[in-house]
């Protein structure tokens, strides 16, 4: 037995060593991912002061005005990290580090702004965008001048260095297009047999609580994306496309009063499962059965251009280079529902899906405003926001 003991002792001595402990990923999901990091410097030129808010966007889902994407991450560079010790008249450049941590593989763009009036809160639609005075910025591809697309490899987690530039030249000139229905109607009802609905919306100052939209306005401007000097006409109706764009989107049920239908988590991406409707072939009028995929339903709506065209077009028909601020818009809404789950191929529906619809105005600056929103009675209390009756306006399909 003593020999056995001696053998065990020798064996154990042989095991002694300083090999490092193994790496073992537990059930914690964060340990089971190999992620990357995007970091770099913000470089600011100008007199604007404030915390720098940076957004990381999925490059395939760009934010307004190009798309409707929402940021996948945000980071804040504290004001003191950037401007500590500077005088009000100093124009910099000011430099500070930023980082987006734990970035999954994908293609991204980085945008941001200097929150000069400290009124940005990302959690509410009424506070989650830039306002007048804020200074925009982005990571730019110096070769093209366009937004830089950052490719985070799926093969190998990495660190990508991306500078983000801000300049006073990108100062936002107006507040967001906060609006209300001109007559104060809480609801406009749309029916298939009721014909077009026409109503006005007015830019409405809102200075309450943390919401500061003191000077809202609608910036009207003809769209000329291809910059050929001719206004675009994407729907071929013979009328130029014009900013602001109007969206009337079907809402979810009353349990999620502000969420879009089929986007209950409000991440801007359709849910895997959801409401699906019959489509109609616009050429033949035949019904296309529901395909089992959730639909993104909007009602056909736009701006009545009667009074707008002179504001957006030169006498020769060319787009005016500068927008014009107006206080009111004439909205025309048709009794037509469209599935825009594939934005490149909008598909009309057989019938108008019943329910509530929200109205969104999108400026060419990317600023938007949507009604109903978190200021609506019955909703605002949940968020600790002030109540504004006009912000409960909703379009109803009975």
């Amino acid at each position: 037995m003593k020999a056995l003991f001696a053998a065990a002792l020798v064996f154990s001595l042989g095991l002694m060593g300083c090999e490092p402990p193994m790496v073992y990923s537990t059930a914690d999901r964060r340990q089971n991912t190999a992620l990357s990091r995007i970091e770099g410097e913000v470089v600011i030129t100008g007199k604007a002061r404030g915390a720098v808010v940076l957004f990381l966007f999925d490059a395939t889902r760009p934010p307004p005005p190009v798309g409707t994407g929402r940021p996948v991450s945000l980071t804040v560079v504290p004001r003191d990290d950037v401007f500590a010790g500077s005088n009000a008249n100093d124009t910099g450049p000011f430099v500070a580090r930023y980082a987006f941590s734990l970035v999954p593989p994908g293609k991204y763009t980085v945008r941001g702004f200097i929150d000069t009036n400290a009124d940005f809160v990302p959690w509410y639609s009424v506070t989650s965008e830039v306002n007048g005075g804020d200074v925009g910025g982005a990571a730019i591809d110096v070769a093209t001048g366009a937004s830089r697309v950052i490719d985070v490899s799926a093969e190998q987690p990495t660190v990508v260095d991306v500078p983000v530039s801000f300049s006073d030249t990108a100062t936002v000139t107006v507040d967001r297009p906060a609006f209300s229905e001109s007559t104060g109607n809480p609801t406009i009802t749309v029916t298939a047999s009721g014909g077009n609905k026409v109503f006005d919306i007015n830019a409405t100052p809102l200075n309450t609580g943390i919401v500061h939209e003191g000077k809202p306005a609608f910036l009207v401007k003809a769209i000329d994306d291809n910059k050929d000097g001719v206004p675009d006409d994407t729907n071929g109706d013979g009328l130029p496309d014009v900013w602001p764009k109007i969206f009337v989107r079907k809402l979810s049920d009353l349990d999620n009063p502000l969420a879009d239908e089929n986007d209950v988590d409000r991440n801007g991406v359709l849910d895997a499962n959801g409401a699906d409707y019959e489509h109609v072939n616009p050429l033949t009028g035949t019904t296309i059965p529901a395909d089992g995929q959730p639909d993104a339903v909007v009602l056909a709506a736009g701006i009545d251009l009667t009074d707008i065209l002179p504001l957006v077009l030169e006498p020769g028909g060319a787009p005016k280079p500068q927008p014009t601020a107006v206080a009111s818009l004439h909205i025309v809404m048709k009794p037509l529902a469209i599935d825009v789950s594939n934005p490149r191929a909008p598909a009309p529906l057989r019938a108008l899906p019943k329910g509530r619809y929200a109205l969104t105005v999108m400026q060419f600056t990317g600023q938007t405003w949507r009604v109903p929103n978190e200021l609506a009675p019955g909703v605002s209390e949940r968020f600790g926001l002030p109540t504004v009756a006009s912000q409960a306006f909703v379009i109803q399909v009975p």
Binding site: M1, K2, L4, F5, A8, L9, F11, S12, L13, L15, M16, G17, C18, E19, P20, P21, M22, V23, Y24, T26, A27, D28, R29, R30, T33, A34, L35, S36, R37, E39, A51, V53, L54, S73, L74, T75, V76, A99, F100, S101, L102, V103, A118, F120, V121, P122, W123, Y124, T127, P157, T158, V159, G209, I210, D265, N267, R382, F383, G384, L385
Partner: protein
Amino acid sequence: MRRPHLALALALLMVPGFAFADARSQAKKYFNQGMSLINDGRYEEGIDRLLQAYDIKPHPNVLFNVARAYESLGRPGLAIAFYRRYAETEPGDLTQVNAAIARLEAALPKPQPAVVAEPVRPAEPAKPEPSRGTVDEATMARLQTLAERMESALSKIEATAQATAQKPPAVSTEGPQRDEDDDGLTEVPYEETVVTASRRAQSTLEAPNATTIITGEEIRLSGARSLPELLRRVPGADVMAMGVASYNLSFRGFNQRVANKVLVLIDGRTEYQDFLGLTLWGSLPVGLEEIERIEVIRGPGSALYGANAMLGVINIITRAPGKGSAAELTAVAGNSNRAGGSFVASGGSVFKYRASAGYEQSDKFSRDYDDGRPDVQSNVEHDTLGLSAARANVVATVNPSKDVSVSVSGGVNRFFTEIYALGLLRNYFLDGVNGYALADAKLGPLKLKLFWNHLTGSTGPQYSAIGQRSLLTVLESNVFDGEALFQREFKLLGTHRLGAGASSRLKRLSWGYLSGMKQELHAAAFLQDEWRIIERLLLTVSYRLDYRPAVEGAGPTFAHSPRVSLMWRVNASHAVRFSFSTAFREPTFLESYTDIRAPVPGINGASVLTQGSTTLNPERLTSFELGYRGELGSAGLTWEVALYQNQVSDLVVLSAVNPVPADQAFDERSQSYLLGRSTFTNDPSSYAARGGEVGATWAAVDGLDLRFSAALQNISSDAATSVCGPCSQAPTFKLFVGATYRTPVDLDFSIDAAYTTATVWVEREPDPQDPTRISNLQNPLPAYAVVNARIGYRLLKDRVSVAVVGTQLAQPHAEHPFGNLVNRRVFATVTVKP
């Protein structure tokens, strides 16, 4: 012809001492066998057995019973010799014993009549029988020679015993530093005793709670280097190893990250960190080699210990100063960077001391992340280290008289350990210093205890996402505690043993995770009466009132903790107990005042605010327990069974993450946007925990001890939701088996295995697709087994022992879904007692 007992006594001097795995059990086995033989009239064989028992573990009452047996055998010279030895221990009945000696001496020339011995020392000495004749001078001379020889033999026996135990065979007069100044000796020799259940020494048969004792010898033979690992053998114990020194411990369910419902004491001084609600096992200022025994009280203990003794009490009782080896050196080395050593010195006569110093380090079982990652970095310099602890401790005591003693002690541990934090937080480190100073005094029936606990250090997540805001911080905790305990016995319709006490505790905490320095002054008073209505029926009634001062936004509160226990001792070896008790756990400073902004993983500009609440109710427990404990002393077999029902309410939990008011959305402190707030709150659900536990030990043959325990439990909730974390997180069944064998050829073997059934843990995690969405996810954890083994070899008359220890020898496993992958450790130890 030489008497067998004398031959045995002398033989014990001639050969190396035969060691036993559990000395008390073996001694008791021999004692019971001896008394049985004496009762059968087989005096000489019986005396042999008693002397064997005495050799294993000296107890003064054995001397008395040997004397009685000799008296019965008609050998007054030997009887006188043993009575004298007994008298030297200054027993309570010294006057009667001296009278017996005088009587025997007076009657020495005359032959003595037989008297049947009693199994235990009676209150009155045996009366002399009338003489029946005379003896001649030759007989007298022979008896005298025998008496002298026996005196000599006894001296040597005691010398041998002292060599191993360093304790005179006398009723203890050790100082109060050993918790309620009791070393466990009772009237009944070798009866297993516990001091924690009633704050005085009593038989485990009569304790008002289910109890388990882990002896120092058991600890040493197990080879364990971690105290929680030892506790796997306790029926009903939930031991969860998150890391090499990061353990969570509970009894009868309700284990969790930062387990906070078991009070851990060292010599009656709390090691439970009030501000966090856990025990930092790696920071204890005493080493395993200093432990005399560990008493584990399963079930509520608030009636005596107040807050936090909710599901159990673990009292680590260290060796009395002056007891044991004068010096003991231990060195440890093994794989995974395990290295350490310790030194313990003990000695003194009137002024006794024990001093120790030690160091231990070990790597983690596993690392959560590899080095050089672009996304996550370690926040500690040595990211492989799981534990390092450099400690020193000193105890000194003086006993001016048997009823008066004063003891002072102090210790410090400079440590680095892991803690697995709550909620969205994960593995933390704590790099700091844990220290204490303690003064105990026994003044007759009054006992005073004053202590100061101090903890300071830096802490933070072991790993964090690069670029995210740091959560590294520093803390300093100070606890000042004073307690007075008065105990006396009186008779009124039976025998009463009354205990009354009062205590006060000042807690001060400065921590970056709180909003400013926090301080609370608590007070408590308690009363307990053990009323022995008749000899076999004991009613224990306890009540404690704890006062919590008014704190921010909340008025003062009082917690009431009654306990009633009725024990029926069927006979000397069997007892049945029914207990009703309540207990509570005070909200910790973490739960009351915490104010943490934890970055949302992957969204550097957002945080989740975790806040405490000063209006929390204490967690409450109401318990009903039926216990049975029995033993078959002559076979060395003991067993216990406990059935319980616990009703638990007001559990303190983290609420869901709820939105903060819009005007608070931007947080200036963290310069981030608050996604929401999670607040510590009382769970509105109530939980019922029902279960049964069984435990047994068997000193099967000389040197061999077998141990077994099993626990079955079920936890249910009255909550309407289908997901019940405390229900699915509690293992349904746990099993422990162990064997220890000390061979006569100086080799020791020990092996134990613990099995725990599968569980499902409900833990909070952010959605990987949308980290702003935080939800409770169910994480299944498979069943696992823990196997530990030790082979030791003793040499140079036990002065040196060398051992090889293997821990976690079964399949690598995790004991929590987020815990380390617990894997095999092998190390060697050398212990030298110069």
